[in-house]
């Protein structure tokens, strides 16, 4: 891994150079809400510092949009023409993505590129370079520390291309891939070798950041993983948690790891398109068959499904990590407050409660 230092004042100049060659997404404000938006001018620097900034819509939307056209068609019978919309022509840079969201994209990579490689995901993903900013200061709902989701990414993480660590007036730049190196090589004039002592400060910052999380013992996660893996959670607990689910689907949509989709069909005068859209395993319709029969009619069953996918060892083994990166978005989204931390806690406490005697 190569390391550099970059002055904060030079960040803009670097982004300017990127804009000439790529589409650059950075966190930007739209009516006080923060989105990853393509920039064409100077970004808002306060969103690119050491304090965690998590746009509510996760950056997975850039590689796996909320809805996208699979193909359009026209004509009938032998006249049928099918057309696939074009993918991105230029490279895409997501700058200011945080550690947790970077890990979320790692999970999506594992999933979408195994077995059948997902055409639409990969043609975007292959164009994307991730410039992550480590979080010196977590936000109020963050629990990435429990999920190997952050606040800093270690060099063993294969997924970031560049990691920026915010210092007082500059960044320590850790470059982890050839795509990352290409971005740095665009501006050799602003990247310098790291100054003496920067390494130590980096680890000090990481330690300090870790201390800022509320006491959140990671063992909670492993208890949940163990119980879910062995199918050892009584159905009554799922039912009780399911009762508080509003089946609005919000948790799935804002989750950086959720990848389920449905397919819609639109036709008008012999023309139309098939498109896919984010779906949620929390919806009753997710498994309802044409006959009306639904193997997961009960909310508790659907709830169990969601957390099996997120936390079972079977999936951990398959996709390389658990399906939660600790970004805390589900805490904002869930009207019933049956969020990842709450469910994990309930599973742990269930040990002592009525369900386990």
């Amino acid at each position: 891994m190569e390391k550099y230092s970059l002055r904060k004042a030079d960040l803009n100049r670097w982004i300017d150079s990127m804009i000439d060659r790529c589409q650059v997404f950075v966190p930007s404000r739209i009516e006080e809400e923060i989105f990853f938006s393509p920039v064409d001018e100077a970004p808002e620097m306060d969103l690119l510092g050491g304090t965690a900034v998590l746009p509510y819509l996760p950056p997975k939307d850039i590689v796996f949009p909320q809805s996208e056209i699979l193909f359009s068609y026209s004509g009938k019978g032998e006249e049928t023409k099918v057309e696939v919309p074009e993918g991105p022509k230029r490279g895409l840079v997501i700058l200011g993505i945080r550690s947790c969201d970077t890990q979320g994209i790692f999970w999506l990579d594992q999933f979408f590129q195994e077995n059948f490689n997902d055409f639409y995901y990969s043609r975007r993903r292959n164009k994307v370079t991730l410039v992550t900013i480590a979080c010196n200061q977590p936000a109020k709902n963050c629990f990435c520390i429990c999920c190997q989701g952050g606040p800093f990414l270690g060099s063993e993480s294969q997924n970031f291309d560049i990691q920026l660590i915010s210092f007082q007036d500059g960044y320590l730049v850790e470059c982890n891939s050839t795509q990352g190196k290409e971005l740095i090589d665009m501006r050799p004039d602003i990247f310098f070798p790291p100054e003496a002592g920067m390494e130590e400060i980096r680890f000090h910052l990481e330690e300090e950041s870790q201390k800022k999380f509320l006491p959140a013992p990671t063992s909670y996660m492993s208890t949940a993983i163990r119980r879910i893996t062995s199918n050892g959670i009584p159905p009554e607990l799922w039912t009780e948690l399911g009762e508080r689910c509003f089946d609005d689907g919000g948790c799935s949509f804002v989750c950086p790891c959720c990848s389920c989709f449905g397919v819609g069909y639109l036709a008008n005068d012999g023309k139309g398109y098939h498109y896919r859209y984010w779906d949620s395993c929390g919806y009753a319709g997710f498994t309802r068959e044409v006959s009306g029969h639904n193997p997961r009619e009960e909310k508790g069953e659907r709830f169990k499904r969601r957390f099996f996918h997120k936390l079972s060892y079977q999936y951990l083994k398959k996709d390389g990590r658990i399906g939660c990166v600790g970004c805390g978005r589900c805490i904002t989204a869930c009207p019933g407050e049956v969020t990842m931390p709450l469910v994990v806690e309930r599973i742990r406490k269930a040990q002592e409660a009525k369900y386990f005697k």
Binding site: I30, E31, E32, E33, F35, S37, P38, Y56, L57, D61, P65, Q66, S67, E68, E240, E243, R244, F246, D247, D248, G249, G250, F253, G262, V263, G264, Y265, L266, A267, N268, G272, Y277, D279, Y283, A284, G285, R288, G292, T332, A333, C334, P335, G336, E337
Partner: protein, 585 residues
């Protein structure tokens, strides 16, 4: 490149803040606004998937005119000319009181105000009403009585979480209106007392402290039997900040709501604090339409009367509503077909459009400017996130063109000018003229002019106990209409999520066993008035000897009940509960 446009959701009257995400002209996503006071980042499943119904294949794209038995696509001018001739003919032959006008809770305040001006000043008819006359007028009337006609801000959804006690009428209000439900759960966790009163269910989810069956027509009896509850609830709700949350569409009679309110405030010091009111509705501008005067005045007819008095009403102009969705009954269809002239302005090729003589395409709310008033009395501005589809033109264009053609005149106001006028004419809307405040995501909360006074109305007592061998058939207004809502039908996800209710009689598992029938089998239901055969479905939440048939299956219900019962306070008719017997087929 994706554009994110801040607007409000127009599915129901919660009034959530959201971003519609556009790729070019196509809506490709939704994100709830985390900074909006109503929803703070939450949405229900309808809201989250709102973008899907913005790409519809069933839009009403051109004006239509009935020629013979067929509807034909014509230009705006031709459709306007034909409509003008029909209206003029009715006006000259039968007079203005032969025309009825229907405004809509699916139209903005500005458009409803225009409809009201058009009806009263151009047509000079007093027959103006909204589809809430089928479901919801009872609640509106009760609120109107309480606030002496000037419903101001009724409550704040955000502050529900600090409520010490919340009375919830109808369990769907927690489930189906998630930002409201979210605050109720927060309140519960902080020690607030949640009391659920549901018309039909037997048990409540665990976070309700008290559960009370709320069959309106039996309420008096139940409270007499449950003395402890009867004493406890008014005390709880007398605490400042407590609230009553209800689905207005489901309230059957104004008197039941009023007597419940007056019961809740019994023995309280005067002037006692009155609980906050959150009247939820599945239509987005339920309150606003009412406030804008979409209701009969000076002896005008209600929508029900307009439909019943076919010898009086010859022409009906329906703006922004699909009447047959609310009450898809055979007799309603027949009544509409009897009209000499039925004009419909709507967005989709609805059932009502199919039987109209003339139809005009108007923009979706997502394509409109203008304001909606949510359940709290918060006036919020819509942003036109999409370009108008097809040949749609704003309702203001339709109304001003008809006005001109009828030889009359009305000032052609923009939405902004309309708001100015509304703020001068409707007292509780006096503060909505500040455009900069309206542009902020949280909108403007209406002024509360009067302290509410609950009229003292005793519970209506009901005839004796249930006869042996009889079953009690409830005919509630469920949120069934979601599954007939065009916006649901246009979304592939929501279409699966809200499967069409089968016309089935729901009953308790034990009762099904006793009758020795299987779910899905038919059974004969006999009332004093008539009989019907219905398939049986098990509903675990029902008590024994209680049957439920949603009021939307009105053809069957007409057979069983004969006539709808009339609520004289609300000028509103409803399906009364029935005592029935069951016979194996």
């Amino acid at each position: 490149m994706i554009k994110n446009i801040s607007t409000i959701c127009s599915f129901c009257n919660t009034g959530c803040g959201m971003f519609v995400r556009l790729n070019g002209e196509e809506a490709v996503g939704i994100l709830p606004n985390t900074r909006h006071p109503v929803n703070e980042g939450r949405l229900c499943k309808r809201g989250w998937n709102r973008y899907q119904n913005l790409r519809s294949e069933n839009r009403l794209s051109h004006p239509l005119v009935r020629k013979g038995s067929k509807l034909e696509e014509v230009g705006w001018d031709e459709a306007l000319q034909i409509s003008k001739e029909k209206i003029s003919y009715i006006l000259s032959r039968y007079g203005p009181q032969a025309i009825g006008v229907v405004g809509s809770p699916w139209l903005t305040n500005e458009d409803n105000y225009r409809v009201s001006l058009f009806c009263r000043q151009v047509l000079k008819s007093n027959n103006l009403d909204g589809s809430y006359r089928f479901s919801g007028a009872a609640a509106l009337t009760a609120l109107n009585e309480t606030w002496s006609g000037a419903l101001g801000s009724l409550a704040s959804i955000q502050s529900l979480r600090e409520s010490p006690a919340i009375l919830v009428l109808g369990r769907e209000s927690l489930r189906d209106f998630s930002p409201v439900g979210a605050r109720m759960i927060q309140a519960y966790q902080q020690g607030s007392k949640l009391i659920l009163a549901d018309p039909v269910c037997l048990r409540a989810e665990h976070f309700y402290n008290t559960f009370l069956p709320f069959p309106e027509e039996q309420l008096a009896q139940i409270l007499k039997e449950k003395k402890d509850v009867a004493e406890q609830i008014p005390r709880l709700l007398a605490q400042p900040g407590s609230a009553i949350v209800f689905i207005a569409d489901q309230i059957k009679t104004a008197s039941s709501l009023l007597s419940l309110l007056s019961f809740m405030s019994q023995d309280q010091a005067d002037p006692h604090p009155i609980p906050m009111m959150i009247p939820l509705s599945r239509s987005p501008n339920f309150r606003g339409a009412w406030d804008m005067g979409i209701r009969p005045n000076n002896g005008g007819l209600t929508l029900l009367e307009m439909l019943d008095l076919s010898n009086v009403i010859k022409g009906l102009l329906v703006f922004g509503d699909d009447l047959l969705t609310h009450l898809p009954s055979f007799s309603l269809m027949e009544k509409l077909k009897k009209l000499d002239f039925l004009l419909v302005a709507d967005r989709f090729l609805t059932d009502t459009v199919q039987i109209a003589h003339g139809a005009f395409p108007i923009p979706l709310l997502a394509e409109s400017t203008g304001t909606l008033t949510n359940c709290e009395g918060r006036v919020q501005k819509l942003r036109p996130v999409l370009n108008t589809g097809g040949e749609s033109r704003p309702l203001s264009y339709l109304l001003s063109s008809l006005t001109r053609k009828l030889g009359s005149s009305l000032p052609a106001h923009s939405d902004k000018e309309m708001r100015k006028e509304i703020s001068l004419v409707i007292p509780q809307y006096q503060n909505i003229h500040s455009e900069s405040e309206l542009d902020s995501p949280q909108g403007i909360v209406l002024s509360t002019l009067k302290h509410p006074v609950i009229p003292s109305i005793p519970f209506e007592t009901r005839e004796g106990p249930q006869a042996p061998g009889k079953y009690h058939l409830f005919i509630p207004n469920t949120l069934y209409a979601w599954s007939r809502n065009q916006m649901i039908l246009e979304s592939p996800l929501l279409r699966i999520e809200y499967p069409e209710d089968r016309m089935a009689l729901r009953m308790n598992r034990q009762d099904v066993r006793e009758l020795r029938i299987r779910p899905g089998e038919k059974i004969k239901v006999c009332s004093d008035h008539g009989e019907a055969q219905l398939a049986v479905e098990i509903d675990e939440s029902l008590p024994s000897r209680t049957l439920v048939l949603p009021m939307h299956f009105s053809t069957v219900i007409e057979n069983l009940a004969g006539k709808r019962k009339f609520d004289h306070i609300a000028n509103y008719s409803y399906c009364p509960d029935l005592e029935v017997t069951l016979k194996k087929v």
